[in-house]
């Protein structure tokens, strides 16, 4: 599939809690999204260079992530720092995993794919504008169909959608040829009434049904 350079949202920030990791995909490439104990997020290729095990199956300790297979530990730069079977070994600088630039904004975790001309998303929503996470919606539908249903995305990578009468911001993640995700946040104060969010979450399910049911 086409893999246009750009910034892509891969998760709601709130869904990646400190000291946890999650696997995801971008254009079919497996990525691990993890947050260290201090709160910084990291997006890497989801593969331990040792035996190819997915690092998203592993565990986070402090500012390292460790592989579930043999406990090889990687620092925030993707460099292997410790091999439990060889505790005295000075680990070769060659043993490192591929990392991607990432950032958090608008309540979402974004990864830079390729070399986008502008280092967007730079524009709105304002860094300071508060958003409430609504949910990530995973669809059995191509990203193009999802994006079309949202009416296209702005230069900041976000689509503006009226969901059951309330404005929401949506970022589209192309997972694979026939799978995509919509990461949805509400531009509102964090202390927004919960009943409203629940109503919007119900509308998300209708949205998913509509898009998945639409003709390709």
């Amino acid at each position: 599939m086409d893999e246009p350079d750009g910034w892509y949202a891969v998760a709601l920030g709130a869904d990646i809690e400190p000291s946890t990791s999650a696997g995801t995909r971008l254009f079919g490439h497996e990525l691990v999204v993890w947050r260290d104990a201090a709160g910084a997020v990291h997006v890497w290729e989801d593969r331990c260079p040792h035996r190819g095990m997915r690092l998203s199956f592993g565990f986070v300790r402090g500012d390292h992530i460790a592989c579930l297979y043999h406990g090889w530990r990687y620092d925030a730069a993707g460099q292997c720092r410790f091999i439990p079977a060889h505790p005295d070994l000075a680990v070769s600088p060659m043993i490192r995993t591929r990392t991607f630039p990432c950032r958090e904004r608008a309540g979402l975790i974004w990864v830079r794919w390729g070399s986008p001309a502008d280092d967007a998303p730079e524009a709105a929503p304002d860094e300071a504008a508060p958003v409430s996470p609504l949910r990530s919606l995973y669809l059995d539908a191509p990203a193009a169909r999802l994006a079309a249903a949202l009416g296209g995305t702005g230069s900041d990578g976000l689509a503006r959608l009226d969901l059951a009468g309330s404005p929401v911001l949506v970022a589209v993640q192309p997972l694979a040829a026939a799978a995509s995700a919509a990461h949805i946040v509400v531009p509102a104060a964090p202390e927004a009434p919960t009943a409203d969010l629940a109503r919007l979450a119900a509308a998300c399910i209708t949205l998913r049904r509509t898009i998945e049911g639409a003709a390709p």
Binding site: D15, G23, F57, R135, Y138, L175, T194, A198, A201
Partner: protein, 209 residues
């Protein structure tokens, strides 16, 4: 009190009971049954204890029970008089039973998918996978909705036996090729389940997380 559980280590239904025993802090004698490949539960003497030839089986004095969900309900009613794990309040009680039914019906596809993947049981792989995904999606939608109203568990206000009955299928889903990518709400919920006092792992569920 002398509890005895007839169990097979790799069986997710037995694991539900082990989770409940851990949560309730109960001692239990475990009898390891050769379910795969021996099918020991389909022959005497186990078939005399449970004529349906299934596992797990719980024996508590003169009480003999089969079906993991029934065993969970029994253990909660018998050993948790406060009603934490099987709420007394009617709505929470109803919700708990609703999700117990889900664990036996909708999630049965996940159970069959796992048996097909691990034990070469016959089964239509793609069909079972698609039904399992549909079940996980229904769980994800529910737990996301619950989360937005400030609740972290499937029924009632705290963890119940519904959470224990639903956990194994999701936690073991990679055994039959379903990743957790599409279920961030369930991922966070399963982390809460793992944090419950008395939580235990089983093969396929890492000790570390």
């Amino acid at each position: 009190m002398s509890l005895r559980l007839y169990d097979y280590e790799l069986d997710e239904n037995g694991y539900k009971v082990r989770l409940a025993l851990g949560a309730l802090g109960l001692d239990c004698e475990t009898v390891a049954v050769d379910m795969v490949p021996g099918a020991e539960q389909t022959r005497s003497p186990l078939i005399d204890l449970n004529p349906l030839g299934t596992l797990p089986i719980l024996v508590d004095g003169g009480t003999v029970l089969r079906e993991a969900e029934a065993i969970l309900a029994y253990l909660a009613r018998r050993y948790d008089p406060a009603g934490t794990w099987l709420p007394q309040e009617p709505a929470a009680f109803g919700e708990t039973l609703m999700w117990l039914a889900f664990a036996t019906r909708e999630l049965h596809a996940a159970s069959l998918a796992r048996r097909a993947a691990l034990f070469d049981h016959p089964g239509d792989g793609p069909e079972l996978e698609s039904r399992s995904r549909a079940a996980f999606r229904a769980m994800e939608d529910h737990i996301v909705l619950r989360g937005l109203s400030g609740a972290g568990w499937f029924a009632g206000t705290g963890p119940t036996i519904a959470d224990l009955a639903l956990f194994p299928a999701f936690a073991l889903s990679r055994d039959f090729g379903i990743d957790h990518e599409a279920y961030p709400g369930l991922r966070r919920w399963s982390r809460r389940v793992r944090g419950l006092p008395g939580f235990r792992t089983m093969p396929g569920i890492p000790d570390y997380h």
